[in-house]
């Protein structure tokens, strides 16, 4: 598969991803917009796996330093995004099930 084919493949994927994202997200009710924001924050935390590969392929000290920082940032992003989202959704979960109990 040559570069041109790869380009068009990428465009197909991007287009489908955009449609999927758009349609799925427009169904999220306003009540959940805060966790949606932090949740999509978590999702772009997948940048961590890219940062790991970048660091893993780094050879010069400069590359290693940048890669190291990128992994730290990516890990903070994904962990923080997840924990915050889960904390928020846990509240909705609980508030739905035991409406009489305080936090």
């Amino acid at each position: 598969m040559n570069d041109v084919t790869m380009l068009w493949t990428a465009v197909y994927i991007a287009m489908l991803a955009a449609f999927t994202g758009y349609v799925v997200i427009s169904r999220v009710p306003v009540i959940l917009h805060t966790p949606l924001m932090s949740g999509s924050n978590f999702i772009h935390g997948i940048v961590l796996i890219g940062a790991m590969v970048a660091l893993g392929l780094a050879t010069t000290p400069l590359e290693q330093i940048i890669g190291f920082i990128a992994v730290i940032l990516g890990a903070a992003n994904v962990t923080g995004g997840y924990v915050v989202t889960e904390r928020i959704l846990q509240m909705f979960d609980r508030s739905g099930k035991k409406p009489k109990k305080g936090a």
Binding site: I25, V53, L57, V71
Partner: protein, 461 residues
Amino acid sequence: MIDFSWAIDPVYIATIFFFIVGLQRMSHPLTARSGIVWAGAAMLIATLVTFLTPNLTNFTLMALAIVIGGGFGYIAAKRVGMTDMPQMVAFYNGMGGGAAAGISAVALLGTTTAPSGSLAVIGGLIGAVSFSGSLIAFLKLQGWMRPRPITFKGQQVVNMMILALAIVSGVLVLSHPSWIPLTVGMYLPLFFVLSLGFGFLMTLPIGGADMPVVISMYNAFTGLAVALDGFSFATPNYAMVIAGIIVGAAGSLLTLQMARAMNRSISNVFFGAFGATEEKEMQIQGSMKSIEADDVAVMLAYANKVIIAPGYGMAVAQAQQKVKELTDLLESKDIQVKFAIHPVAGRMPGHMNVLLAEAGVAYDHLFDRDEVNPEFPSTDVVLVIGANDVINPAAHRKGSPLFGMPILDVEQAKNVIVLKRGQGKGFAGIENDLFYRDNTRMLYGDAQETVGKLVQALKKL
């Protein structure tokens, strides 16, 4: 070592699957949590299999960085209060943008084979802007920096020039023409410094209260940067591409919705000082009439239906726990209680829902604008707790900066009680003539205190 790298692609695909399912399950509060838990588990496994990628080195550094970053993210996220959500989102978003910029930098330094370096340049630019911009947003929201817009003459021109320079240096990074005696390694710092600078400067003139819109946009930016960086590897990392684009779509959609609910355009947020169209000194008839907590308690006790309209002030006062107590008390007296939640009440979309959910108010008590507006005429008492703009009838009046913004029509209720500390204006800085209406009474004081007093008074009745 046995080669397990065949496991990487299927795991990444499963991760994307669970990300999408997780978002789909966010269409209802009760299914949302399990969705994010699955997505989190998938992401954890994806991180682990990434160690199996062929030809990697620096594993110790990698593990160390994950522990540092993950540990820090975990602790910060566990500690943060729900009122501080906006800056937290900004913070993590900045991290993601920074990571994306870092990937681009490493790719451009030439260790990884980038089939199309231009994508890495664009990704790096967007990531860096998102990083520095989110940082400013964080600092302003956290109160570590003056939240007021920082403006100077010719700002827009300066910003645009810096952006242009950043783009030029990006082109140089890719082409490093031989007639300029510089190497890639010398253009690259320039490129990133300019990109980061643009992010700073673009965010500085934006006021603290516009920040949620900005954060949401930077969220989309980071997604886009991650998607572009997905092409920085020998074979494209489609998991990054897809996840990034989904976030890009989510962020864009939320930004537009939020701006619409605030009655502002995106360009207005970024380039316009808010309130420039402020109306002439308005002639308000009547006066503000205050009331005591005991009298309100009596009023409530004789009501059939009470609607509570919370706003940013409730969050400031941390009154949600007391409000929950009040709700329980009223319900124990067979009084119907509903919450009217405006989409931009508070400081980020859905903020009130989160705060009330945290306090244990069941989400079936929460109603959005369209559901609750027809109910006000049949409501005996509306308690406005620290809300201002979202109930300002000026939105119905031509010429007002709020004109056209959809609001909660609380003024149609039989009695409106407004809980606030004094004469303070709302975020939009506009007089609210609702406070002067005949059926409106003001209950002054910090909302936590005044709601507490209401609870006490009701208990005594």
